[in-house]
């Protein structure tokens, strides 16, 4: 035999360990730090921050239950609560029996949740909502309740004159009382009495009823003019509208509940909305579609990082990729920018790319990329998928703006959203709950998520997808499709394995669906090669050097052009190598035009040779050149014979002349046009120069502007130092020239007064470097700890922090004149 608990602490104390553990699991914030005892736990569970957090984690029906309790009397019996959710049985046109049955079924569960989370305590006969939760959920004039109900009669009439109350009683046909408390009780009783209220409403004018209709589902407040229309006047006289302020009236809660047939919510949502399917697809087709996309995802990331191999794009100073670089990346990957941002972020989340940390920072693949690239495709995918699941960075935000209007860039700051992994898991769990091969309607997924966390999205109205959770959910669905988590909208089997079992199992399931790399291509006479599937890496690398890629996808189409063949030759391949390579990897004979093309390009390749020489030796007598080359002393000149009559040298012409002279020859220098350069002591001239400017003693003569400014400054400083000041009361006497000192309160008051009168002040001011100065200012406005003033000393409008002003003194009236 236990006595019912009187406080939350007692109720908690009565719970067994497991149920306390349940509470702590649901509200982990209570554990931080671990409470000393149950009383402390109860206190902490009642703090506003903790309760708000707990409420945010409630699903819609549990929340509605809590809201209903918040508008009921405290404590409330179970039946009252049920009545508030199902209504009192009157048909108001929106009433449905099956909904009531569902509510009756779901309510114990919802109550159990609330109890477990220590938001509700007490026996079923005396259910109590934790006071803080009641304060948050109950209606108050400041914020409308989520139920749309207003304050009770008692709350709304507090402060009303007893005489006015009696008038209302009389108008409503109730006997007069002499006590406001009993008057309120009588009025409340009338509003809650079904028959009495019915009679009262029957006597109301029709327009009055339509006014009530507008207020009944909230918000319950209405504006009135001092001379209201007759229907509003009737309602006010009968207490159906009670004044809140001079211009506002409210529909009291009891009356509203009567009009609502007793229901706290217009649409109770006892059951979670079902996730509906848009299509049932063959699970096998789904898996293969997802696998195809998974393979594409892996290849796209690889392609992206490969293209950044030799140093990727530069990093913005604020972090991230510039819009232009993102565009470039998108063009290279042949995807929209938003998708490109996703791939870039994915590679980043998987640790495959990072800043290189150099002085001019650039993005580059990490060493982890090299390890990753060596893995088989299925394991590369699980690495990406695992990173994606846990990532808090959301690429969907890229291209948008943050709260301060700054653009959010890919790989940049401010992309983390802590809710992302949870929403992602939730969405995938909802998909996993469907039959294999079922593609859900995204709208219903969003509706379900909103039901599960109605307070978490900023707005809960249906069809609104602007709240963060809904946006993350939509991104999740899109990204799942891109990444091969889903195939044609339905969750793939390998993803189920990834969620339930782990990466290894997922990889094992995915492996057979990924096409085997091929070792051959089909060569065609129109100078194309088609790889009818993914190619083995060395083959792919060689082909992409030898031909241009024309089309990508499941297959790759290459086109041979003279340019592409030349590229391969430049890379050190010979024509014979290329013929052998094509013959080895083609299933069919190499087409004649292709062989011809290679030979034709090879024929001309290297026909012209380019090199650098610093100088040359030219001589019509070949024998002389032979002689020079044979001479050991010419070795330092690094001569090379280009033609019978020309040698190229790697030393500059002067050294070459010198060297040859030492060897006993008599060379002559040649100009670019081939004329002999005649060396003669020429007259040497500088380029055009101007004569030096004389440097007079002393500083330069100041110009008029400078002089004027200087004089003004001196005058103002002088005024500041010498003006006759009004002595501020109680201020210590100030010596001329010393900084004025006043208390900050006085400073503020004086400055404000001066701003109003527009008079000038003398202030002491300490600047940011600690240098003190005196200034004469005319304050214009004082706000936020700053005074904006016209500074006579500087002759411009300036802003001074008040705390830097050491003191102020008013100027004598004639000082500024």
């Amino acid at each position: 035999m236990t006595t019912p608990p009187r406080t939350l602490a007692e109720a908690l104390r009565a719970r067994d360990d497991e149920s306390l553990a349940g509470l702590l699991r649901a509200r982990p914030d209570l554990l931080n730090p671990v409470p000393g005892d149950i009383t402390q736990l109860a206190t902490r569970a009642g703090t506003r921050a903790s309760v708000v957090r707990a409420l945010e984690h409630l699903d819609k029906f549990a929340l509605q239950t809590a809201e209903a309790l918040a508008v009921a009397a405290d404590p409330a019996p179970y039946e009252t609560l049920l009545g508030l959710l199902t209504g009192d049985g009157r048909d108001d046109g929106e009433h449905r029996d099956d909904a009531d049955a569902a509510i009756a079924d779901a309510l114990p569960g919802a109550l159990a949740t609330l109890r477990e989370q220590a938001l509700v305590w007490g026996e079923n006969e005396r259910l109590r909502l934790v006071r803080t939760a009641r304060e948050i959920l109950a209606p108050s004039p400041q914020h409308a309740s989520p139920t749309g109900l207003g304050p009770t009669v008692a709350e709304a009439t507090s402060g009303m004159s007893p005489g006015r109350l009696q008038e209302i009683l009389a108008a409503a046909g109730l006997p007069a009382t002499h006590d406001p408390v009993s008057a309120v009780a009588a009025l409340s009783a009338l509003f809650t009495d079904r028959a009495g209220m019915g009679e009262l409403l029957d006597s109301a004018p029709a327009e009055a009823l339509s006014v009530l209709d507008r207020l009944v589902w909230g918000p319950p407040y209405g504006e009135v003019t001092p001379n209201p229309t007759p229907p509003v006047k009737w309602l006010r006289d009968h207490g159906l509208l009670l004044p809140v302020s001079t211009r506002t009236v409210v529909l009291p809660r009891e009356a509203a509940l009567h009009l609502r047939a007793g229901r706290a919510h217009r649409v109770p949502a006892p059951r979670p909305p079902a996730v509906e399917a848009v299509a049932d697809r063959d699970p096998q087709a789904v898996d293969s579609a997802a696998a195809g996309q998974a393979f594409l995802a892996v290849n796209t990331v690889e392609e992206l990082l490969k293209s950044w191999n030799g140093g990727g794009p530069a990093i913005l100073r604020a972090g991230g990729l510039s819009v232009r670089e993102l565009k470039k990346t998108a063009t290279a990957l042949e995807v929209p920018e938003q998708v490109a941002a996703f791939w870039v972020e994915l590679a980043y989340a998987a640790g495959l790319l990072a800043s290189d940390g150099e002085a001019d920072e650039r993005y580059a693949p990490t060493p982890a990329y090299d390890d990753w690239a060596e893995l088989p495709a299925q394991e590369r995918w699980t690495a990406l998928a695992t990173a994606w699941l846990a990532a808090t960075r959301t690429s969907g935000l890229v291209g948008g703006q943050d709260a301060k209007g700054r653009a959010l860039s890919a790989l940049g700051p401010e992309l983390d959203r802590s809710a992302a992994p949870e929403v992602r898991h939730r969405v995938l769990a909802l998909l996993a709950a469907l039959e294999p091969g079922t593609a859900p309607d995204p709208e219903t997924v969003l509706a379900r998520l909103r039901w599960e966390r109605p307070l978490r999205g900023a707005s809960a109205s249906a069809g609104d997808t602007t709240d963060l959770r809904s946006r993350i959910a939509l991104w999740t669905l899109n990204e799942s499709e891109l990444l091969g988590i889903t195939g044609r909208g339905a969750l793939a089997t390998h993803t189920r394995a990834l969620l339930d079992a782990g990466p290894a199992e997922a990889a094992a399931l995915l492996a057979p669906l990924i096409p085997e790399p091929l070792d051959h291509v089909l060569l065609q006479a129109d100078l194309t090669a088609v790889a009818p599937g993914p190619l083995e890496r060395p083959l792919a690398d060689m082909l992409s050097a030898l031909a241009d890629i024309e089309s990508k996808g499941g297959a790759t189409v290459y086109r041979f052009t003279p340019g592409s063949v030349r590229r391969a030759l430049d890379a050190g391949q010979s024509a014979a190598d290329l013929h052998a390579f094509l013959a080895a990897h083609s299933r069919t004979p190499v087409p004649q035009p292709l062989s011809y093309l290679i030979d034709d390009v090879a024929r001309r390749h290297g026909h012209l040779r380019i090199g650098a020489a610093s100088s040359y030796v030219r001589c019509d007598d070949e024998a002389v050149l032979n002689e020079i080359l044979a001479d050991k002393r010419s070795a330092t000149l690094r001569l090379r014979r280009l033609a019978p009559t020309a040698l190229a040298a790697q030393v500059d012409p002067a050294s070459l002349l010198e060297g040859l002279r030492e060897m006993g020859y008599a060379p002559a220098a040649e100009s670019a046009e081939g004329d002999v350069l005649i060396t003669r002591a020429g007259a040497r001239r500088t380029p055009p120069r101007t004569a030096p400017v004389p440097v007079p003693e002393g500083p330069p003569v100041p110009d008029d502007t400078l002089l004027g400014a200087a004089v003004r400054a001196i005058r103002a400083g002088d005024t500041a130092a010498t003006v006759v000041r009004k002595d501020a009361p109680e201020s210590p006497a100030t010596t001329p020239g010393a900084l004025p000192r006043t208390t900050s309160a006085e400073t503020l008051a004086t400055v404000q007064a001066a701003a109003m009168t527009g008079s000038a002040l003398w202030i002491g001011y300490v600047n940011a470097d600690g240098a003190a100065s005196q200034r004469v200012i005319a304050p214009v406005r004082v706000e936020g700890g700053f005074v904006t003033a016209y500074d006579h000393t500087a002759d411009e409008v300036r802003t001074y922090p008040l705390h830097r002003i050491t003191g102020v003194a008013e100027l004598a009236d004639d000082a500024t004149a």
Partner: protein, 547 residues
């Protein structure tokens, strides 16, 4: 390894032709995908909005398209592509043009925002009249073609349900005595007649004239036939008299020299586009009779003004005939919206496999310029470069060697530059047909060539189209109109008529090595290479030493 089809993310479809299911797959995707390239192993099709709308116009829906792709695809089809197909196809038919008992021609929408969107367009505004109700707007009947063209450009193609006028009836029958329409010709006629208006694409020499005659026999109404030139007009007339119940008197010629208007009238593009004092005096031809059918021969050459006139002919059935629906000016979509969608298309190699066109051996002969020619080429002005390398003297020697090699075979030498052709004619001792050759002289020479009295004929580009030289087995091209793909195809077409002995046709293209002639040749050959004609490349020196 399963399906024969690989769907690429850039909307190309690769079909492996040696696969067991290749034929079934080809039939499944042909209605909506354009055959882009047909070399020996892998054929490339492309999905274009135009092609998809074409398919919608022919009664296919997105589900069928997606099913065909998914069924035959070797790898999973990218989801985004399927979505894109569905969205593109859903754009067709939101707007319909139809007849209204009170307001005449009206544009109706099933999707009001689309109508609002297009009505806001500045290009549409002048074409429409009053708003009849929120979903309907009147269209000036004369702007039927214009509005279809404009809507297509805006991405909202209108379905034209306004129907056709029957035109003035005139009995026409095919005279199938000892010959019959080939199966593909029948299919082409049916495809056209079922669709109402449109374009039939058949290789050169595959009998497009007969498709025209078949369509006339279906329409049984007065017909206007637009052709490229007078010779072609005579040949149409000749063929029609031979193949149909029409008599010589029923067929009129409307050309520079004659202005006859008969139940069947054959007019040249040139006379229609003749302009005097800013007006087109011969335009009234379109209104001179109540034509039941308008046939556009060589529709890829349709001059821009004729497009404009055609826009006003939307109530009449229109048939376009061509071998290559490639226009170097990129106006294929105008052909689609004004003449009609492509109703029938047969790859060249397929017709060849059926034996209706001769197999051809295409050879590119590369000649080396002599050293002095190379120097002259290097210093030539940019605009003179092509002419210089295309008319190099070395080509003449090679051409002579080729003619010698094929002595006794009917040989055509085709070129661009008259002086080059005159010189060749002199050396080969063969007559030259060029622009200044009179029609009578031309027909006389053609007849002689046909009868075998003449073995070698040198022709300029005046003979590019529609001359009927049944027994030409060798064509030697010495120069061309820069990089024109369709000209190359038309010239190959000259030798594709099936030979009595099943002999293989030869097509030589003589090209100067390492010059822009070679670059242009590569571009010219692309269409045929994509149709599966593999060019062998031979060095001229080998050829000269052989002979």
């Amino acid at each position: 390894m399963t399906g024969p089809l690989i769907v690429q993310s850039d909307k190309t479809l690769l079909l492996e032709v040696d696969h067991d299911q290749a034929d079934a797959c080809r039939r499944a995707i042909a209605p909506f995908a354009e055959l882009e390239r047909a070399p020996e192993h892998i054929h490339t099709y492309r999905l274009t909005p135009l092609g998809l709308w074409n398919a919608r116009a022919a009664g296919h829906d997105a589900e069928q398209v997606v099913d065909a792709l998914v069924q035959y695809s070797r790898y999973p089809v990218p989801h985004a592509l399927l979505v894109d197909i569905a969205e593109t196809m859903a754009r067709y038919g939101r707007l319909t043009l139809s007849k209204h008992p009170v307001h005449g021609l009206v544009l109706t929408s099933t999707d009001r925002p689309v109508l609002e969107e297009i009505l806001r367009s500045k290009k549409v505004q002048p074409l429409v009249g009053a708003r009849i109700d929120p979903d309907t707007v009147a269209v000036h009947p004369s702007e039927r073609g214009q509005i279809k063209q404009t809507l297509l450009k805006l991405g909202w193609p209108a379905e034209d349900l306004a129907g056709y006028v029957d035109g003035e009836a005139h009995p026409i029958d095919l005279a199938e005595d000892g010959w019959a329409l080939r199966p593909y010709q029948k299919q082409a006629v049916e495809g056209f007649w079922h669709g109402g208006s449109g374009v039939v694409v058949l290789p050169c020499g595959a009998g497009k004239t007969l498709v025209g005659a078949g369509a006339m026999a279906q329409a049984r109404a007065t017909t206007l036939i637009l052709v490229t030139n007078t010779v072609s007009a005579r040949q149409w007339k000749h063929e029609l008299v031979k193949r149909t119940s029409l008599t010589e008197d029923e067929i009129g010629e409307y050309s520079g020299t004659r202005k006859e208007i008969r139940p069947v009238t054959i007019a040249t593009y040139q006379v229609l586009t003749t302009r005097r004092k800013g007006v087109y005096p011969h335009l009234e031809l379109f209104d001179s009779r109540d034509w039941g059918l308008v046939i556009y021969d060589e529709v890829h050459l349709l001059p821009a003004p004729v497009f404009k006139f055609t826009a006003d002919l939307q109530a009449r059935r229109r048939l376009g005939l061509t071998a290559t629906l490639v226009r170097e000016d990129g106006r294929e979509s105008d052909v689609f919206s004004l003449i009609g969608p492509k109703r029938f298309d047969a790859p060249w190699k397929e017709i060849e496999a059926q034996g209706y066109i001769a197999p051809a051996d295409c050879v590119e002969v590369r000649v080396n310029l002599t050293d002095s020619e190379r120097l002259a080429y290097a210093t030539a002005e940019a605009e003179e470069k092509y002419r210089f390398c295309a008319t190099t003297a070395t080509k003449r020697k090679v051409t002579e060697a080729l003619v010698r090699k094929h002595r006794g075979e009917q040989t055509l030498v085709i070129g661009q530059y008259i002086d080059q052709l005159d010189e060749l004619g002199e050396h080969l001792n063969a007559p030259v047909i060029k622009g200044e050759t009179s029609n009578a002289q031309r027909e006389k020479l053609f007849d002689a060539f046909r009868e075998g009295e003449l073995n070698v004929l040198v022709v300029s580009k005046v003979a590019n189209f529609s001359i009927d030289l049944p027994e030409a087995t060798v064509a030697i091209q010495v120069s061309g109109t820069f990089g024109s793909r369709q000209e190359e195809a038309q010239r190959l077409g000259r030798v594709l008529r099936p030979k009595a002995d099943g002999h293989e046709a030869r097509f030589y293209s003589v090209v100067a090595r390492d010059t822009i002639d070679q670059d242009f040749a590569a571009h010219r050959q692309r269409f045929l290479a994509e149709q599966g004609y593999a060019y062998r490349i031979v060095d001229a020196d080998e050829l000269l030493t052989d002979s």
